[in-house]
Amino acid sequence: MAPAEIREAIIEILEDIAPDEDLSTLEDPKAFRDQLELDSMDFLDIVMELRKRYRVQVPEEDYGHLNSMASTVEYLTPKMEDIAV
């Protein structure tokens, strides 16, 4: 998967876990927390959905990388580049 496809995958996950959020205005460099109503339970779900859908493991010490869309995509790119779309 290329970075743009990883971004799309994250958007799909966010649509599932936070259906009432408007994701079209999401600014990639800004923290998710400042734009969306996400708590620690929702962040756990991003991690768990990545594992369920793409078999990608995000260890707990790396959760900080999921701060914004930009940092999430950057963090996941090497982990997901071999996954077919």
């Binding site: 936070a18 009432d20 109503e37 708590d39 339970m41 756990l44 768990m48 369920k52």
Partner: protein, 461 residues
């Protein structure tokens, strides 16, 4: 081999099951009773549907709300707001001798009631409100602080203190006399700030949606399968043994059976301290009317009453029940969409009861006691709402024995044991607690309990 074995198919067990099955775990829920729901179940007698437990779902927020426990559990379980189909209450009241406080789902009403009836307590109430936090702001230590002590620093009129405590204790306090500050905070938020609602079809709608979802994710549910024992080796649960001798093996056990009740199952525990079990249980006297309650002027959703200035939240000392305080709920009095209305008028009255005395009655004495205490409960309640007795066409009652049968909790304790175990851990490294004894009560609370303990202990391998 299951990833997680869940004991109990109540709200918390089902919610935990959905979370775990959604993330591809092999899950099995074991329920001793022949039906699901635990405390919040339902039954059918004489062609009519009755709810056990549920008077109201608390924590009501409108569709689209992003904050609050209701929004959180809907997100976590991937439900749409419509699937719980909640309609808000019409309005409720706390009634003490010579003093009424009305409240609804907008806390402004309660504030203005306090301003007009307790003008010198307005600042105190504001101070109290500022102290109250949510689920995530509570650790075990602050959870267990005395509510009466903290309220005493804000509110100086003991009548107002007792009136504010009355609904919150009735809907979620396992402790006699006082209340844990954490429990009080959660209940304050869920009742006074967010408020009451009900699905038109009652609690069965929520339960059916939970079970349907759980099964569609591949979760297994076994009814009439009580867990007799948890086999333990070296501080680790190996398997569970059912009442019928069947052995089921799992990596971990999540139990909603109650803390003491779960400990008793563990075969490395020879004795449990039964002084720690809950003591508060209820009877409920249900009247079916030949007309809508509003036709009789009974137009409130819930009335919490107490017949003296002092509110006694304790197990009855010398009789089967205590009639000084009670809750009167009419499921007709919600603002159902499209003008829908229940066919029958229903009035449900809850009173505090004593388990042992009810449990010791033989069958004929039990039937006599039910009839006698139904009459007393209604007689007590009509001091606070219009007398509906000549319109009654059918009655039913559930007792501490019924609650015991549905929940299997010691003493039929409605809100479980007074001491909660917020982190859900036990002395075993793979047995965890959810449900009332973890600490979150009510329908939304117990669902939240199942979700949060599943997330914390069962999801991350």
């Amino acid at each position: 081999m299951y990833d997680t074995i869940i004991i109990g198919a109540g709200m918390s067990g089902l919610a935990a099951g959905i979370r775990l099955a959604h993330y591809d775990q092999k899950v099995c829920i074991l329920e001793r009773h022949y039906t699901i729901g635990g405390l919040n179940s339902f039954y059918r007698v004489g062609g009519r549907d009755y709810d056990v437990g549920l008077h109201a779902v608390t924590n009501f927020t409108e569709k689209g709300a992003k904050k609050g426990p209701l929004a959180k559990i809907l997100r976590q379980l991937r439900f749409k707001w419509e699937e719980f189909s909640l309609s808000p209450q019409a309005g409720s009241r706390i009634s003490f001798p010579g003093m009424d406080l009305k409240f609804d789902n907008d806390i402004e009403l309660l504030r203005s009631e306090i301003a007009s009836h307790f003008p010198d307590q307005v600042d105190g109430f504001r101070k109290l409100e500022a102290l109250i936090g949510g689920y995530d702001q509570l650790d075990q230590e602050s959870f267990e602080q005395s509510t009466r002590e903290i309220m005493g620093t804000c509110i100086t009129d003991p009548l107002l203190t007792d009136m504010l405590l009355c609904p919150l204790m009735w809907y979620g306090n396992a402790r006699e006399h006082d209340m844990d500050w954490g429990q009080f905070s959660i209940m304050f938020e869920s009742i006074y700030r967010e408020g009451f609602a009900r699905p038109f079809k009652g609690v069965r709608l929520i339960l059916k949606n939970l079970v349907k979802r759980y099964r569609s994710l591949g979760g297994e549910l076994k009814l009439r399968k009580g867990v007799k024992r948890i086999h333990v080796q070296d501080g680790h649960a190996q398997a569970v043994e059912l009442d019928d001798g069947e052995i089921i093996v799992g990596k971990r056990v999540l139990s909603s059976a109650g803390r003491i009740e779960t400990l008793r199952m563990c075969d490395d525990v020879s004795e449990v301290d039964t002084r720690q079990v809950g003591k508060l249980t209820f009877i409920e006297s249900i009247s079916i009317l030949d007309r809508q309650p509003t036709d009789l002027g009974l137009d409130e959703t819930i009335v919490f009453y107490n017949d003296s200035d002092k509110f006694h939240w304790e197990r009855p000392q010398d009789d089967l029940c205590d009639m000084r305080t009670g809750v009167i709920c009419s499921p007709n009095n919600y603002e159902y969409s499209d003008g829908q209305q229940l066919d029958d008028g229903v009035v449900r009255i809850t009173s505090i009861a004593e388990f042992d005395r009810w449990n010791q009655l033989d069958e004929s004495a039990y039937q006599v006691a039910k009839a006698r205490w139904y009459d007393r409960a209604v007689e007590s309640a009509v001091r606070f709402v219009p007398d509906f007795r000549s319109q009654v066409i059918a009655t039913d009652m559930f007792t501490p024995k019924t609650i015991r049968r549905f929940t299997w909790h010691d003493n039929g304790a409605v809100y479980g044991a007074p001491d909660k175990k917020l982190d859900g851990t036990t002395h075993l490294d793979n047995v965890f607690l959810c449900g009332t004894d973890q600490g979150f009560v009510g329908i939304i609370g117990s669902i939240m309990s199942g979700i949060s303990i599943a997330n914390q202990h069962c999801l991350r391998d």
